[in-house]
Structures are given as C-alpha cells and as structure tokens.
Symmetry: C2
Subunit: 136 residues, 2 copies
DNA sequence: ACTTGACCTTCAAGCCACTTGAAGCTTTAC
DNA sequence: GTAAAGCTTCAAGTGGCTTGAAGGTCAAGT
C-alpha cells in the first residue's frame, strides 16, 4: 500500500476540505489515518476510494449517522446495501417534503413581493409589514 | 395594558413553543418580558401582536438576524419596510437556489432507486454502493 | 391544610455538519 | 538559512432552537 497522499491532496481529490476529513475521522465516520513519523496523516489509494464514497454520500445529503453506519458495514466486509437503500428512500421522502415546503414558501414570497411592488410605503399606515401580518 | 398572558398561552396563540419565545428574548429578538412578582413572564395583547409578527417572519424562514433587525426598527418607530423588502428578495433567491438543488438531488436519488430496484444484491460483486460510487 | 399536577423559572448541554482561529511544528524550495 | 505552504491540536463559533435537571408557583380537589 502506497501511503503517498497527505490530507490536502486527499481532500482535493475527494472534493472536500481538509477540516472536513479531520472532522469525519474525529466523529468516527472515517477510521483513524496512519501517521508519518512527524505526525502527518497519510492516505493510500484505497483510503481515497473510501473518502470519495463518503463524499458522494454526503453530496446526496445522506446524514452523517447513516454514512457512518454504511462505512462501518463496508469496512467490516458486510453488505451495506440494505442500509443504503433505506437511507435513500428516507432521503428521497425528505427531499420531496422539503421541495413542497419550499415551493409553498416561494409562492408566498412571490405574492408578497408583487404586493410590495404595488404598495407605496407610508409608514406606519401602509407598509409591507402590514401585509405580512395579514398573511397566515 | 392588560398583562394577562403567560408564556404558554402566548406561545399557543403565536404558534410557537415557550422555549422558542424564551430563546428569542435571550438573543435579543424580543424585548425582555415584564415579570410577575413571582418571576413569571407576562404579556399584553400588543406583545402578542409582535410575537405573531415574529412567528410569521420565521414561517417565511427569514433568518433570525433579519428578524431581529426588523423588530428593532419597528420598536423604534422606524419603517422596517426596506429591511423587509431586502430580506424578502434575499430569501426568495435562496429558496429558488435550494429548490433547484433539491430537484437535482431528487432526480439523482430517483435514478439510483430505479437502478437499485433492477439490481440483484450480490455483495461484494454487485451492490447499490457500486452504483453510487460510479456516479459523479 | 395538603397534595397533586400543570405550569413556570434558570442554566447547561445537545443537535447537525462543519468552519474558523490560535499557537505551534514540518517540509519544501530557494 | 529562511520563508512559504502545509500540517498538527484544541476550543469555540455557526443557526435555531430543544431537552433535561433541579427547583419554584399556582389552581383545583380532597
């Protein structure tokens, strides 16, 4: 195993910040890195694959708890498929819900902005704020 | 000014948790409540209006910093309209961005789930995880 | 009068996923 | 020899609260 990557390069390759990788290690998502004599973290190509996998799961916005579980299974040689599938469907559900919520918000903010454009400000009689109070 | 509301009732009326109201007071979004002899917070109808306004701004997901600024202007008798308008347009922008991001995610997760359905799990040869690694 | 239970108080810590900053060590290039 | 870039750890900050512990208060029922 070549140990030729330091944390900065690993981070670049995986599309993460070095601080994020240190954090993942600290909270047990990633296993402790091997260290050089001077204390620098060193990573192999295999480590890079794992970190890329984690990065990908995070870019799918899997919660770190799920990522930890999946990585743990993977490192124990067990199939993480079931965990991945359930995290995926939970995630898809939450994404749908959040999209609906944001679309409601978008409509509401859009309406408010339209109203605000037509509205002369004459505080405290007439103001966007009054419109906001009316809503809901 | 009648001072007949305690924090629980105020919270109910405004659609917030008592802990949220205490928090808003602690971080200076709401002014310090008046206190009964025994130390209970007491609120007037005017206070209720303010708290409802805050609740509404939060339901529009205005950041608490913006809410604090708007409430401060309002309490100084100044027009918060400009602050409200700019917070609104910042918010609308962020909502749009986030919706786009979540839709991308939704597509990606949907594709992955579809692939996963067609895929026999035969770890470690074939697995959803391999598919996830391939992506990106 | 006493108790029960619902409500209130404060303070500290937890949540999520990191980032930022301070103080200091190592490595690399010139 | 020295300067810049990169590494180390640890603590604290971000946002918007919630939760828990330990205790005080108030109304109703017995």
């Amino acid at each position: 195993m070549t140990q030729d990557l330091r944390i900065g390069e690993l981070a670049d390759q995986a599309g993460l910040a070095p601080s994020a990788i240190r954090y993942y290690e600290a909270v047990g998502v990633l296993p402790p890195a091997t260290r050089s004599r001077s204390g620098y973290r060193g990573y192999s190509e295999g480590d890079l694959d794992l970190v890329k996998f984690v990065s990908r799961l995070r870019s799918l916005e899997f919660p770190l708890n799920d990522v930890r579980e999946i990585v743990a299974l993977r490192r124990e040689g067990k199939a993480p498929c079931a965990a991945v599938r359930s995290a995926m469907s939970r995630g898809a559900q939450q994404v749908s819900n959040r999209i609906r919520e944001l679309q409601r918000l978008q409509t509401e903010l859009g309406d408010l902005e339209k109203t605000a454009r037509d509205l002369p400000d004459d505080w405290p009689t007439v103001c966007v704020c009054n419109v906001i109070e009316d809503g809901q």
